[in-house]
Symmetry: C2
Subunit: 153 residues, 2 copies
């Protein structure tokens, strides 16, 4: 558990760890107990509330999975730097137009050619609880960053 100052420092540290890694793997749990992952383009940096944002289609299967099991993992891999980050958090679908406009980036047109006019465009909000990271090829002991707030004790 962290106080607000520590929490801000932790968010800043986590931002630095994932900096330059554009694509994360989002893992979700299916109804039959199987685990699936897929690459997701990271949308801006982790915000001050400790949230990672991704664009998605509201009718995609991962949204179905998230509605049945909100807890997800987001992993970042930078093999050239022997850096690996595992983020555990809860995911939620967001469809508010103001938020979609705030987070939209032109690079996303590759996957959403109609931009914000795409009928099922939505945001996936991943609230970070905890991150484990490894940043050395010789020592694979994890270091942990918690973003759980005091109110969650």
């Amino acid at each position: 558990m962290t106080n607000p100052t520590e929490r801000n420092q932790n968010i800043q540290q986590l931002r630095q760890l994932i900096e330059g890694i554009d694509c994360a793997m989002l893992t979700t749990l299916d109804d039959d107990g199987s685990l699936h992952s897929r690459p997701m383009s990271v949308c801006g940096e982790i915000d001050s509330a400790g949230v990672l944002w991704f664009f998605s289609l509201a009718n995609s299967y991962k949204i179905h999975e998230i509605q049945h099991h909100q807890q997800v993992n987001v992993s970042f891999s930078a093999p050239d730097h022997n850096r690996y980050i595992s983020i555990s958090g809860t995911a939620q679908l967001v469809r508010e137009h103001n938020k979609l406009q705030e987070k939209w980036q032109p690079k996303l047109e590759t996957w959403f050619p109609q931009g914000l006019d795409e009928p099922n465009i939505a945001l996936l909000k991943v609230k970070i609880h905890k991150a484990d990271y490894w940043d050395s090829s010789s020592n694979f002991a994890a270091k942990t960053i918690s973003l759980l707030e005091l109110s969650h004790i």
Copy 2:
């Protein structure tokens, strides 16, 4: 579902997709529903039974998780090639000395300095059921490779 010939071709295709990616992220489900991942050094190629092998310590927390929920995800990221692979399968702990000897590689001494004399050394056997992969930066539709055998229908 696949017949034996298709299955061998699928295994071969999957071997090619993950070739050159030494470190995968293994995601497991914890008792509280949270999802955790960690980097794992891949131990040789996918074998003819469609199994991925990793060395691990038998008393590590991921083994506890796997004993409670056998289904895992193994993801491979090659960001330089825009190639991402998600493997869904079931994991099992293997401690047979012959198998440990067969799979041991000197590069593993970085993480297991005592080698096969490490008291808790074990293998994690991940039987692959299905793989999704993405290998283009412009088209993020998944392609799927099934390794489920006819006997599983």
